[in-house]
Symmetry: C2
DNA sequence: CGAAAATTTGACATGACTCAACTGGAGTGG
DNA sequence: CCACTCCAGTTGAGTCATGTCAAATTTTCG
């Protein structure tokens, strides 16, 4: 299955599009690949694109005053990644976007997406639903971070995304969970 | 200014609508008022509506296994509130939606909103933008909860929403910040 | 006025962090 | 293909921010 079709497949899950619209969407996205460790965005730049990952894994992270990395998102194939804040406002980003593995992505620029919304109004619906779900999700993650222990959050992640443990170093997963690598190591020790 | 117009005013900030569309939107929402402490949603019910607050303040919260309340959102006038997860999936909610003051809201049901999206496609755009912003916001709150101390989060809230301190009991604010009332009290003591 | 709710205070407990050292495997270059 | 380095992961000891529990005080509101 060509990469473009994966994107269409996921859009079609939520809105039904004609083959004409499909063609318009496909032609609006650019295919890009990047090697492991390659950066697609650095602090100080404006995040020009939103990315749909067709192959591989990516992370977004920022570095605090003390030089510590904090991982914001980890996304595998068929997920979207970007710095939406910067993408949407066209202001400078504070984040890095990095390939955790060799990746292939479909990307679209902010202005091209705006134009595409006009050409294919249904896409607005797709993104409305996408952001709505992402928002709900993020509220749940917020809830868990506030009220569940690190152990519970770890267990939930194992249950819901066990695949990332095979593919992403534990240091990164720890940061994604909001804990130190040491704590994660101790949690995992107790489990086994 | 009639309540309906406030809603239109906020929608118009993001998408320009004709007076015809305006009329359609206005007629789709119902005005409802509730007294302080009144519940608009309880666990076990499906959240039928999404609410635009025109007057007053509301909160959403859930009660954990040990019987502790955890506050999810606090919203003042001109904000939206709902249990989106339940609203969107039409499954049972785990949350309470409660009026913190006497409130007036404009509410719309899930099915009515779906129909309205068809009648006024631009509204889809408005909600796409609304959820996008809400998502970005919630990610920021997540970040702060993971990586900032309670003191920093308190200071940020004072800076960005100082109005809520005049109107919402500290117990609730503490819970919203993800800390105990005792901790909040101690933080505030140090400040003064 | 009196009851209930909100806030404060104190003593103590604890989950997670910090820092430092150690282990083991992966990758690299001679 | 071995030796060396580097990075991820683990382990231990000590610390700290925040939580828990209980009681006292203040505020709110019927």
């Amino acid at each position: 299955m060509p990469h473009n079709h994966k994107l269409i497949y996921y859009i079609n899950k939520w809105v039904s599009i004609t083959s004409d619209e499909e063609a318009k969407i496909i032609s609006a996205f650019e295919l890009k690949s990047a090697a492991k460790k390659e950066l697609m965005l650095e602090p100080g730049e404006v995040c020009e694109y939103i990315y749909f990952i067709t192959k591989g894994a990516m992370r977004s992270y920022f570095v605090d005053d003390k030089g510590n990395e904090h991982i914001f998102q980890i996304r595998l194939e068929n997920g979207w990644i970007s710095d939406l804040e910067s993408f949407f406002t066209q202001r400078k980003s504070n984040y890095y976007l990095e390939a955790l593995e060799d990746v292939e992505v479909l990307r679209i620029s902010s202005s091209r997406l705006e134009a595409l919304y006009e050409e294919v109004p249904k896409l607005e619906r797709y993104f409305r639903i996408l952001f709505q779900k992402a928002y709900i999700n993020s509220l749940e993650r917020l809830n868990a971070t506030m009220w569940d222990s690190a152990i519970e959050r770890y267990n939930d992640l194992v249950k819901e995304q066990s695949d990332i443990f095979q593919r992403v170093p534990l240091v990164y997963i720890a940061s994604y969970l909001g804990i130190t690598p040491e704590s994660l190591s101790r949690i995992r020790k107790k489990k086994s």
